[in-house]
Subunit: 228 residues, 2 copies
């Protein structure tokens, strides 16, 4: 009895390690970034707006919970999500939070209410229309993320380049912009810009994690092993 209690405590303790990893806003942001594809520490730090030291400390925590893996690539250390299950967990804890926490629902409504936001669910018809060319699905994330994983029939046009590449877009068709997911603002900005320029644009508040699309592991850049 004494003994079995100890085993039981041990079990819950292990699960709590995952919860602890998910108990910090910055760590969650890092997980979401990693769901877009593998990244180096300093890329992660820049994109999450934190110092490299802090990013390194948080990544260490994530690694100790076995949620991410690392690989040394030359001068850089590249982090990636350990598993498709981690991305699924991120979507699942986020959806529970949206279900339970009114504060979150309200903050989210602020983001997506004004521009014509596309409600999810009709993924199939979206893909069909994109395939036929009736609409354009635009991936406005950095191109490295597009290359790691993207929605079917999506076209890459990073938000930074959007203004200068407007000529590439067809005038008559609806443009559906997406980015990293519902908490990412790039697609919102893109839609605002496009509308301003006379395009018909709507915002899809989902990304590859929500669609269950796993990023591919880019082969370690073997470059030219300078010496050796």
């Amino acid at each position: 009895m004494e003994n079995s209690r100890r085993i039981k405590d041990l079990l819950y303790e292990q699960v709590a390690r995952i919860g602890k990893a998910a108990s910090s806003p910055k760590r969650l942001e890092l997980i979401e970034l990693l769901c877009q594809g593998e990244k180096s520490v300093d890329t992660l730090a820049r994109e999450a707006s934190i110092s490299m030291k802090l990013a390194s400390a948080h990544l260490r925590e994530l690694r100790s919970a076995r949620l991410v893996d690392t690989e040394k690539q030359g001068k850089n250390v590249v982090y990636r999500i350990a598993n498709r299950a981690v991305a699924e967990f991120w979507v699942s804890i986020r959806s529970l939070a949206e279900d339970r926490l009114v504060e979150l629902k309200m903050a989210l409504a602020q983001l997506t209410s004004d521009p014509g936001a596309l409600m999810p669910q009709d993924r199939e018809s979206l893909v069909k229309a994109a395939k036929k060319g009736d609409l354009v699905v635009l991936d406005v994330r950095p191109s490295a993320e597009y290359e790691a994983a993207h929605l079917p029939y999506a076209q890459s046009m990073p938000i930074d380049e959007l203004r200068s590449r407007l000529a590439e877009l067809p005038q008559g068709k609806t443009i559906v912009a997406y980015c990293r997911g519902p908490y990412c603002l790039m697609a919102v900005d893109a839609v605002n810009l496009l509308k301003q320029q006379g395009f018909e644009a709507i915002h899809l508040p989902e990304g590859v994690a929500e669609w269950g699309i796993a990023p591919v592991r880019t082969a370690a850049k073997t470059a030219y092993p300078s010496s050796l």
Copy 2:
């Protein structure tokens, strides 16, 4: 830009509230207990082997993350899971932990390896056999939990009463015992006792949470409002 960063931080912060709630072993244990059905604070404290004060503090945390609801019933305060989504989350974080953490896999193997453990997956055939009466599905949890929710065609026989009620069980048939889930030891103990007594018994390491069966809310005991 300054402003949008603040909104983003706010979003991750909200999700982290859920993670924080799930970052303590005892809170996870309380969630699992509540997945079995609503319970008073002192029942929860007793079943999780902690003081009522500590249970109350942990429940306060769970309530502030909106994962549980409370209702005053006479002298007691009854807690219940807010939502079916909370039970699903418990199953999902646990399965991620089992997937990622070797330590957990090993501790779990210790529990279920020795007795003939039933591997899940064939739920349908289990239900069919139980319906036909080819085997007996035995719920060895306290009867209040059985009444709140139980597996199809299960029969209630709390572990405390098992020894004295062996006569009620058929001799020829296989007995499948289950309890609160894979981290609960009651079914393991039951199987050991049954085998010792000459029954053919196997252990199903799942419970109502894993099967997606929501506990029913027992109507507030209106008792006799003594005065009023």
